[in-house]
């Protein structure tokens, strides 16, 4: 179980698998995904989106919604992993 100093009250269970992926052939580097992600999970390198880290991902799917190019493949993490909170 991991915590994140910026986001108290939430814990993350490892073993999620690569549940968010980018199809770089489709990515146009618009940075929408990076702009809406509150967990700071994304970066743009060489005009392409890249997942920096999913360590503070809240599985909100905002990145998936804003990707007009359809470059983000969004699935859920493996059952029982990912974030959890008592305070939602």
């Amino acid at each position: 179980m991991r915590t994140h100093e910026k986001f108290p009250g939430v814990e993350w269970m490892d073993g999620t698998g690569d549940f968010i992926r980018v199809d770089t052939t489709k990515c146009i580097g618009c940075a929408n995904c990076m702009n809406v992600c509150l967990g700071d999970c994304w970066e743009i390198v060489d005009q392409k989106a890249r997942l920096k880290s999913l360590s503070a991902c809240m599985e909100c799917a905002s990145c998936w919604y804003v990707c007009d190019a359809g470059a983000i493949i969004f699935t859920w993490p493996k059952g029982g992993t990912g974030y959890r909170s008592d305070w939602g």
Binding site: F7, V36, L38, F74, T75, K78, R84, W87, G88
Partner: protein
């Protein structure tokens, strides 16, 4: 659970809707399995949360007759309309409020944390015989002869069922994968940045009482997220915490997605340092306990293409957020999740009994959704959406009007008809529902006072029978018992009146539109001088509820959790 086990019903998701459907199907004797991806139920459900009263009045019987974990009753909303934060130019609209002495026992909603509430519901489903499997993600549905015939799990196992009830929430990944629905455009989704602040109960009582606080304002104030982008700032008082939410549409038509991380941070800093009541009262007494975020389907109901996406297919019914039923007006989705799950379970039971789980049979569900007065009202309200025009034109009158219509007394001009229609439908079915409603308010309030709900771990509150309010108990028994007897004896007549009332309800909104300009000033004028007497009566009521015999407020055996004790 053995692989390839066959079920009558598989429910995807154990959130607010899932357990309601699972419980009802299990109660009907169907072999039911509910599958949830989180390790423990409710841990991935992020919400506000005030569940509006209509959810409890017209929702599943077991919730109304039970004792769920509530954080605080809500009696009204104080809207702060922020014109200039630096000079403190702030107007207030707090017209939507249950007045004393009815408040706080009679609430207009109940605040709750999602995890305990969803767990409470799931426990009820388990007691009814539903099986629950957590830590399991459903990847897709399985199909046979063009009909959904079960689900595919992440480990490759297939679980067969006669019907699938999809209660997976707003992202709808399974429904999208199965080709039943499409991914929502970002314009229909608002991202909610939520903080939970710990605070002493006595401070929450003193600062907030039972009222929610919402803030609205111009973009340049950088306090409440731009109206055009969705919403404002909302603060909910809980038992010993306050919940804070600012939300923002992921995108406005055609405009680039904003840098939400930066914007939310800036707004949060401004709120905590500039908003007078936060800075001076809340900040010194509170500390951040949690921060999380989640998107919700804010404007799905306002787009005809999105609204008309299927909510059923051969062998599958979609409920709650998965069916796009989140309110466009009040930001609530729990009541619609409860109503739709209840109706989906009914249709699933009927379909399985009739041996027909095809679309032609399941379309009944869609018909019932379309005929549901509250669901239809809540997914078609435009007041919150219209705030963006107030923003665009910097039109203070329009801003105040929209806020008043959505979150003030003006709400009665569009909510009264659906509320009355639902009331009359319920009364027509069983006039004695009225006494159940009354007892629910008292039971819930007693539950809140003693923090003792079904399955609560803390020591169950024992009401001391030596300290009972004997007179109050007698008055309550005579009034509510007398009303119940009256409703029972006159049941046939009341049922006829309810049918008439139902048909006349259509007039309620237009009549309210005409009368509100007269009623509103009188009501607001009288509220202040009437407060001392109202408050005095309310204090007596609170004392009565605290000490009264819990069995007075029970509607079914065992629905009161607080045990009473004989002296000695």
């Amino acid at each position: 659970m053995p692989a390839n086990d066959a079920y009558d019903v598989v429910v995807i998701g154990g959130g607010f809707g899932g357990s309601v459907a699972a419980k009802k199907c299990a109660d009907a004797g169907l072999k039911t399995l509910m599958i949830e991806r989180s390790q423990n139920i409710g841990e991935k459900v992020i919400s506000g949360l005030t569940i509006p009263i209509y959810g409890f009045l017209f929702g599943p019987d077991f919730i109304r007759d039970g004792n769920p974990p509530i954080e605080r009753p809500a009696d009204g909303i104080i809207n702060y309309i922020i014109k200039d934060i630096d000079s403190g130019d702030i107007d207030i609209d707090d017209s939507l409020r249950v007045p004393r002495p009815f408040s706080p026992v009679i609430a207009f909603g109940y605040n709750a944390y999602c995890k305990p509430f969803c767990q409470w519901q799931a426990q009820k489903a388990i007691e009814s015989g539903a099986e629950v499997q957590t830590s399991t993600t459903v990847l897709d549905v399985i199909k046979e002869n063009g009909a959904v015939a079960g689900v595919l799990l992440e480990d490759g196992r297939q679980i067969k069922s006669k019907i699938v009830i999809d209660a997976e929430g707003s992202q709808g990944l399974v429904a999208v994968k199965a080709g039943i629905r499409e991914k929502y455009p970002p314009e229909a989704i608002s991202l909610a940045d939520t903080y939970d602040y710990e605070m002493d109960k006595k401070d929450v009582d003193r600062i907030f009482g039972y009222s929610l606080r919402f803030c609205w304002g111009w973009d340049e104030q950088k306090i409440a997220p731009p109206l055009g982008h969705g919403n404002g700032l909302m603060v909910w008082p809980y038992r010993n915490s306050v919940h804070f939410m600012q939300d923002h549409c992921l995108r406005l038509d055609g405009i680039k997605a904003p840098n939400l991380k930066k914007r939310f941070q800036e707004y949060h800093d401004n709120i905590t340092s500039k908003l007078p009541w936060w800075r001076d009262e809340v900040a010194p007494k509170s500390s951040v306990r949690a921060r999380m975020w989640e998107g919700f389907e804010i404007f799905v109901g306002l787009d005809s293409n999105l609204k008309n996406m299927p909510n059923h297919d051969n062998g599958i019914l979609l409920v709650g957020d998965a069916a796009g039923l989140e309110s466009t007006e009040l930001c609530d989705g729990v009541p619609a999740a409860w109503f739709s799950a209840d109706m989906a379970a009914d249709v699933a039971i009927e379909a399985i009994r009739a041996g027909n789980t095809q679309k032609d049979f399941l379309k009944k569900y869609d018909e019932r959704i379309k005929a549901h007065p509250i669901i239809q009202w809540s997914i078609s309200g435009k007041n919150r959406f219209n705030l963006r025009y107030a923003q665009e034109k910097h039109d203070e009158r329009l801003l105040k009007k929209c806020v008043h219509l959505a979150w003030g007394l003006g709400q009665l001009t569009h909510s009264l008809t659906p509320l009355l229609k639902m009331s009359f439908l319920f009364i027509k079915k069983d006039p004695r529902i009225i006494t159940k409603w009354i007892k629910m308010f008292f039971r819930y309030y007693q539950n809140w006072l003693h923090n003792a709900y079904d399955y609560s771990e803390r020591e169950q509150r024992v009401c001391d029978s030596g300290n009972r309010p004997k007179l109050g108990e007698m008055i309550f028994k005579i009034c509510v018992g007398g009303l119940d007897l009256f409703l029972r004896i006159l049941s046939p007549l009341i049922k006829i009146l309810a049918v008439v009332g139902y048909h006349l309800s259509g007039l309620a909104n237009p009549v309210m539109k005409l009368l509100l300009p007269i009623i509103r000033p009188i009501y607001l004028f009288l509220r202040k001088p009437m407060y001392p007497i109202g408050n005095w009566i309310a204090e007596k009521m609170i004392d009565f509820v605290y000490r009264a015999d819990p069995s007075l407020f029970e509607t079914t055996k065992g629905s009161g959790h607080i045990k009473s004790r004989q002296p000695g």
